[in-house]
């Protein structure tokens, strides 16, 4: 029995080591702003904020969490305690971190849940301890009474921006094709809904079809290539639900002997560095930003919640939209890519 236990702890140790290595590698670029907020405090009490986060998951998540940490680090009276999950799908470690923050009696808890369900008990605990909870990005399916507000960009709104832009560029309508993400995700449905609502009612809009390209550039290219062939290049507009599929579509348009931006206009959502570069180069025509930078909104909500002021139960993060090569270049120069 004992050697079994030893083997187990050895495996656990190795796993933890590997994880730590992974985290260190992924978070290498971040300055360590989490723990030194107290140094600059000038008079008054320091507000401690516990941040139950997801941790390194991908470009958007990394940019978002860095933005939050940087924003709180810049405020001298706020101290942010950053607690990423041990993996992007590990709810257990998030629940533990949450309980720890309640025990430590932090002033506010910020939460980005890995999963929507299973938070009732934790949130009630925080409510009993009179610690306000603010949700960032992802929602939970608990009662809205248990948290102050949810701050997040809204997929329906972002996709509607694409639709409105398309209406202005194609006043007489267009033959369009939609490159969708992985089927069944709520993001995919919301982005479809926002776009279709925006163009509904306008005449001349003909949806040639829609197909999943699984968020990936190579599949976006492959699908677009075949769609152009099947329709003798009679596609005016492609709505790609993320940047990568749009970048792939632009390559397919070029290889079909057409010019992206003239023969076929491509609009994407997200606003990654790659997409802004493609926009600056003229391959993409429109990029709607799914805005990860909302540290200021979070700080605002924290201060209001502590002061007892009323906070809207849902705060939608407004996103930029870039519609020209110059706008793309400017966004790159301002460091808006991620």
């Amino acid at each position: 029995m004992s050697h079994l236990k030893r083997a187990r702890s050895l495996v656990g140790g190795i796993a933890a080591g590997v994880l730590a290595l992974g985290l260190a590698a992924c978070g290498g670029g971040d300055s360590d702003t989490a723990d030194n907020g107290t140094d600059g405090a000038t008079g008054g009490e320091t507000i401690t904020v516990g941040y139950v986060a997801v941790g390194p998951e991908g470009g958007w998540r990394d940019a978002h969490e860095k933005a939050i940490r940087d924003a709180f680090g810049a405020e001298s009276d706020l101290e942010l305690k950053y607690a990423p999950a041990s993996s992007p799908t590990d709810q257990r470690s998030q629940l533990d971190a949450f309980a720890q923050f309640v025990n430590d009696e932090v002033d506010v808890i910020l939460l980005t849940a890995t999963e929507a369900s299973g938070w009732d008990a934790s949130l009630e605990l925080a409510k009993e301890a009179e610690i306000p909870v603010i949700l960032l990005d992802r929602g939970v399916d608990s009662s809205p009474d248990l948290y102050v507000t949810r701050i997040a960009p809204d997929n329906v709104n972002v996709a509607a921006q694409v639709g409105e832009w398309a209406l202005s560029v194609f006043p007489d309508g267009a033959d369009y094709y939609v490159l969708e993400g992985v089927p069944g995700l709520s993001v995919v449905n919301e982005r479809n809904e926002g776009f279709e609502e925006a163009i509904s009612g306008a005449s001349g809009w003909n949806k040639v079809g829609a197909q999943t390209a699984n968020w990936s550039a190579e599949e976006g290219k492959s699908v677009t290539e075949t769609v152009l062939r099947a329709n003798n290049n009679a596609i005016d507009f492609i709505f790609a639900q993320n940047d990568e599929m749009g970048i792939g579509a632009a390559l397919a348009v070029r290889e079909a002997g057409l010019t992206p931006g003239e023969d076929v206009k491509i609009a994407t959502i997200d606003g990654t560095t790659g997409a802004l570069e493609a926009l600056a180069a003229g391959d993409l025509s429109f990029v709607a930003q799914y805005n990860p930078f909302f540290g200021d909104l979070a700080i605002d909500a924290v201060r209001k919640a502590l002061a007892g002021e009323s906070v809207d139960p849902v705060i939608i993060v407004p996103g930029d939209a870039f519609d020209s090569p110059e706008a793309g270049q400017a966004a790159l120069d301002n460091g808006l890519g991620f």
Binding site: A25, C26, G59, Q211, A217, E218, S222, V223
Partner: protein
Amino acid sequence: MNRFKAALRTPWFGALLAIVVLLAVNTIKDPGYLAIGTNQTTGMMSGNLLDILRISAPIIMISLGMTFVIATEGIDLSVGSMMAIGGAVAMQTLSSINQPSSVTAMLTAIGLALLLAFVLGTVNGILVAVVGLQPFITTLVMMMAARGIARVITGGQNTNARNGPFNQLATGQILGIPTGFVLAIGIVVLVALLMRRTALGLMIESIGINPHASRLAGIRPRPILIAVYALAAVLAAIGGLFTVAEVMTVNPSSTGNLMELDAILAVVIGGTSLAGGKFSILGSTAGALLIATLNKTVVFLGVPSAATPAFKGVVIIILVLLQSDRVRSLLKRRTKSPTTPSTPTAELESQEALA
């Protein structure tokens, strides 16, 4: 006639037949489907068939490697992640060298990518052959680890690079045929010669049938198993190179994602038994071509996204059913009994198959 009958019985015949049927369906939808012409603007040959050949290159590579692993009664779930490794190393190398037209840069990138894949594949092989872990578990762990390594290599970001020669690997043409496909077939022929002109193929099959017996017969399974897993990883990395060369960008999370399933399907469609002991290189290649055709057909016919997996599943299950001896003999009896009284031998055969 006998030769034709023999060809009819081979499992890859079903795959070829399915490809023909799919192409026919597409041609019914659009009579110009099979046409191949020259694109006025780019000066390249273009057509649906060439597209299929081009996107089949990575699938051919991963299924070729998977074929030998399965023939040893193993499985390699890490090929999709190996594609990500190949793509990540190549893109990272090219973007740090940053010489858009340098052939040396391309060769360096390819060399490093294949080297890392070889090392990881060897680790797989050692864990299976020397330590004796289950291939399923070993490669499942490697699947996660390799994707993690791909993320570390690229810093978790999508990485793009510019390099003309490397891009040509996927998008170029040799005498009108996509370069990627030509290279893939070249590699298939080389590997097939290695397997069938030497005793290596036979040894792999014997290990798949009974490792202990083959050991007693003087075959050392360990080096062969290690080589098989290393080969699978290297071939998968080549597949990853073809994939990223298409778009010159790698997404460490999505490149090669779930491709191990395509590879296993291609191998099974091609008639290699999951129980090990025999393999068909031609079959796996035909299976890979079928999967590429299927992927393109779904888009060409405009099958809705939500129904796409079901459509693919139905096509594949029909094909596998047609290959099963039991269903074949049932069909044979149905079609034969009303016209000709079955001969005793035929009856015996079908009874045997049913038993």
